[in-house]
């Protein structure tokens, strides 16, 4: 099967001006992927499906990934030579620059070819941001298998798929407002009783019971020899 670079070159020749780049996977699995711009995604998907050498007729898996915005601190060493004494070693000043990397949502598609029995070819689509531009083109018209999976990504991540025939919530109820798979999702506070609290649950327990109950009230460890 062709490598992602070869596919990219072929796609660029076929769709001049399309945004296509290869995202390398640093891990041991080395499953590299293609990052597609939203404008040509649909046409490229159809090309990948119909191209006789690739014939990626099965879209196996659609995954949503949330990348919240994060603050990146870059440390740079700037050496300034001393003007008075050029022979002296230059003064090194550590300069920190803070940069806010904007967040986005990503949808990853894993494609296989049943005809040629090869794969996976992986490509990614990214939204503009996580709020008002959380849209990518829907690929349900290209592969039927995206229908429920894209609905799931819409439900849990809040990515709107433009051109999806039936974009509704699929796993949560219709009245639900949040997107629970996002990293910044806060669960409803329905804590009431947890005998073995840890971590986040412990924080909740402390909030709900600001003063620890008297030892006698701690029913579960009654009879314990402290």
């Amino acid at each position: 099967m062709e490598s992602p670079e070869q596919i990219r070159d072929r796609l660029l020749a076929r769709f001049p001006g399309a945004e296509i780049s290869v995202v390398t996977n640093p891990g041991i699995a080395a499953q590299h992927s293609l990052l597609l711009g939203a404008a040509h995604a649909r046409a490229i998907a159809e090309f990948l499906r119909d191209d006789p050498t690739l014939k990626l007729d099965q879209c196996s898996n659609v995954t949503g990934i949330d990348w919240p915005e994060k603050e990146i601190v870059e440390t740079k060493n700037i050496s300034t030579p001393d003007p008075a004494n050029p022979a002296a070693p230059p003064k090194v000043v550590e300069q920190k620059t803070k940069r806010l990397q904007p967040g986005f949502l990503e949808v990853v598609y894993h494609l296989y070819s049943i005809t040629h029995r090869h794969g996976p070819v992986i490509f990614r689509l990214r939204t503009g941001n996580r709020t008002d531009q959380a849209t990518v083109p829907s690929l349900t018209p290209v592969w039927r298998s995206c229908e429920f999976q894209e609905r799931e990504v819409f439900d849990l991540f809040g990515v709107t798929f433009v051109g999806h025939p039936d974009l509704r919530r699929i796993l949560m109820w219709d009245e639900f407002k949040d997107h629970p798979m996002r990293r910044d999702y806060v669960e409803p506070d329905d804590y009431e009783w947890e005998p073995t609290p840890h971590g986040a649950v412990l924080e909740k327990a402390k909030a709900h019971y600001p003063t620890p109950p008297a030892p006698a009230a701690v029913a579960p460890v009654k009879g314990a020899v402290a």
Binding site: N25, A29, Q31, Q58, N61, W143, R144, S145, I170, M181
Partner: protein, 393 residues
């Protein structure tokens, strides 16, 4: 919904399913909308279908999911890689061993972990036992849905208990085995256990003969299932249908052959293919697959090599794969079960995604049911072989 909506409904239907007869008289008046589920007497858990009926004929069917949405993917991000292993048992709770394997395979891909040969053989043995277990139960459940109340399911569960006894004496639990580890298996099967597995393998063909005498040639079952719920190969491929469902339409695609994972290339077995893609074919494919599984089991038990069951370099605690991503998949009894893992170098995965075969197989449920009666919808659903733990995750 009124009859006048019907032509619009037929026109907007993207895929060529069965068209619905349009009769515009006062007798064939309005369409009836029925909500089937989430509590219903069939044996497929909390699945709901909103069915629009014209008389008894289905003109529209919308599945409703989420009644068993247990947040596996969110929990997978909060627990360690090892901690997710017992949760995979609870995905498709009829075949926990193959779920374990799929997850172990994905993590091994992510971390570059090697697996000793003996463990690969044991995994094949357990996966094929799981396939026997799953397909036997499915046949029982399908017949229960057809109306053969009790008997086939009882026979199926009698055999299930024998396989569960094997699982229990090896892994310690009947259903939730939690047996595979990254780089091997948790315990080494003893000689006694292997003898038990051999005995079961030798005997299982006899049971299948009996089961098939009971069901396969039965005229009522044939009349009830043949020509019902037909699926075309083109639609099946486009909709990502995998496993016995896909092969029943005649598409030769079995990951055991295609991906050749584990030690499957060493075994001689065939991939049964269907002709019509109807409910009967799906039932027959499963019976034939069980026969092939018995062949694989015989070869694997005969060729089981000695050696370690765990890779000595494998780590149990403080397991942190390098940053990167991996997608690993195997041929589960229900189809392609895959795990997509994204690591950022921490002890927990950044993203833990399950590719559930039966959820994606349900994409074509409406297409298969259109034009059939409401009683057929139940057996078409039964033939898809869904387990809600995996559909909703």
């Amino acid at each position: 919904m009124s009859v006048s909506d019907l032509s619009a409904l037929n026109a907007q239907r993207a895929t060529p399913g069965a068209r619905v007869r349009e009769v515009h008289d006062s007798f064939h008046g309005d369409l009836l909308e029925v909500s089937m589920g989430p509590h219903h007497p069939s044996t497929h858990g909390v699945f709901r279908m909103i069915v629009t009926l014209d008389g008894e004929t289905i003109v529209k069917l919308k599945p409703v999911f989420g009644y068993l949405h247990r947040n596996h993917e969110k929990l997978g991000e909060t627990v360690t890689y090892l901690g997710s292993m017992p949760y995979t048992d609870r995905l498709d709770y009829l075949s926990s061993m193959t779920n374990n394997w799929a997850y172990a395979l994905a993590v091994e891909k992510l971390a570059g972990q090697a697996v000793p040969e003996r463990a690969e053989y044991v995994r094949v043995i357990l996966a094929e036992l799981t396939r026997l277990l799953n397909h036997t139960c499915l046949a029982g459940f399908l017949m229960q849905d057809c109306g053969c109340s009790g008997t086939p399911l009882m026979y199926a569960f009698r055999e299930r208990e024998y396989i569960l006894d094997l699982f229990e004496s090896l892994s310690g639990s009947r259903m939730m085995c939690n047996y595979q580890r990254f780089g091997g298996c948790r315990v080494d099967p003893s000689a006694d256990w292997l003898a038990g597995a051999q005995k079961l393998t030798d005997r299982y063909g006899t049971f299948l003969d009996e089961f098939e005498t009971l069901l396969t040639g039965n005229e009522i079952i044939m009349a009830r299932t043949q020509g019902v719920g037909k699926l075309s190969p083109e639609l099946a491929i486009s909709a990502g249908v995998t496993g016995p469902m896909l092969r029943a339409t005649g598409v030769n695609y079995d990951l055991r052959k295609v991906d050749a994972y584990g030690v499957y290339p060493r075994f001689d077995f065939r991939v049964p293919l269907g002709d019509h893609g109807d409910v009967y074919d799906r039932y027959m494919i499963r019976v034939l697959e069980m026969r092939e599984s018995i062949k694989i089991l015989q070869q694997a038990l005969a060729g089981l090599p000695a050696g370690p069951i765990m890779d000595p370099k494998a780590k149990l605690r403080s397991f942190r794969p390098k940053a990167g991503e991996a997608y690993g998949r195997i041929e589960g009894p229900k189809g392609e079960i895959g795990f997509y893992l994204l690591s950022d170098g921490s002890p927990n995965p950044y993203r833990y995604r399950i590719r559930p075969p039966s959820f994606i197989n349900l994409t074509v449920l409406e297409d298969m049911c259109l034009g059939h009666t409401v009683a057929d919808a139940v057996i078409i659903l039964g033939s898809v072989d869904i387990v809600l733990g995996e559909v909703d995750r």
